[in-house]
């Protein structure tokens, strides 16, 4: 473990200390997590999407679940950040998951609907310039049919055509973010290769920073 700053060392010491020290630290930690959870739920949602009591409910659940995770993993804290930053990460993840769940209460379209007319709008392609991008979109559709596996296609359709948030899809498919991202990553790569071969996308990348 790297040398901890005094504040982080104090957190670890109390959370692994006597029962009295532990309980006091947990109370402090919970108050902190709840404050972060509330502002994070607020940051991620419009007031129209979530009512005040509901917001508070999500924040409380996120703080409680993060608390459990932190207590279970405190020994894994390596000191590569302040303790509080490391702890906040857990509550941010919990808020993220809980908001993903929220999506399925009011989905706008089923995740497997396949309406290609939505695609230009999803990528902000200007209808007035359709002549410029029509061939590209047609070839993209063809490539999705021809080169993607069933799983890649399912994920492409949900995320790209239907704007299902990736985290919401994770819950629906009982998967994890990394796996879905990786599947979509491979799909993107395969589609680009196919489109380059058709001559509708340049081999040069559009932008490299």
């Amino acid at each position: 473990m790297e040398l901890l700053d005094p504040d982080s060392a104090e957190w670890v010491r109390s959370l692994e200390g006597t029962e009295v020290a532990r309980e006091a630290a947990k109370v402090r930690l919970h108050a902190m997590l709840l404050r972060i959870a509330r502002s994070e739920v607020r940051r991620r949602t419009q007031p129209s999407q979530i009512s005040g009591p509901e917001l508070d409910d999500v924040a409380h659940q996120a703080a409680a679940d993060a608390m459990v995770a932190i207590i279970a993993k405190v020994r894994q804290f390596r000191g590569d950040s302040r303790f509080t930053t490391w702890a906040y990460k857990f509550v941010i993840f919990e808020v993220s998951t809980k908001i993903g769940r929220h999506f399925w209460r009011n989905p706008t379209v089923p995740m497997d609907a396949e309406d290609w007319s939505r695609l230009p709008d999803r990528f902000g392609l200007d209808p007035a310039c359709e002549l410029e991008w029509r061939a590209l979109v047609e070839e993209l559709h063809r490539a999705v049919d021809e080169v993607l596996t069933d799983r890649q296609r399912q994920i492409f359709v949900a995320i790209v055509l239907n704007a299902v948030p990736l985290d919401a899809l994770v819950l629906e498919l009982g998967s994890n973010r990394n796996a879905i991202y990786k599947t979509l990553f491979d799909a993107r790569r395969k589609l680009r290769i196919a489109l380059v071969a058709k001559g509708v996308v340049d081999t040069e990348s559009s932008e490299r920073s």
Binding site: E40, K89, W133, L166, R177, F185, S206
Partner: protein, 73 residues
């Protein structure tokens, strides 16, 4: 034709992209480097690339950055 639409950017993948799992594993260390202006991209190039391409991870990053930079009330 315009070669830099959101669709072109979507199709482009960067082999340096570390994926969600690794990015999230080190997110707390990365975010502190960003907050203190300490060459986060040089320390964790694969995470910087990932956060540009992954909506949900960059959302988590934004939340964590807000959490450590917003003063407590």
């Amino acid at each position: 034709m315009n070669r830099d639409t959101a669709l072109h950017r979507f199709l482009e993948t960067d082999p340096k992209d570390v994926g969600c799992e690794q990015a999230l594993e080190f997110l707390h260390a990365y975010v502190e480097l960003v907050a203190s202006d300490a060459a986060a991209q040089e320390h964790y190039p694969g995470i910087a690339v990932h956060l540009k391409a992954c909506g949900p991870c960059s959302e988590d990053f934004d939340g964590l950055l807000a959490a450590i930079t917003d003063p407590a009330p």
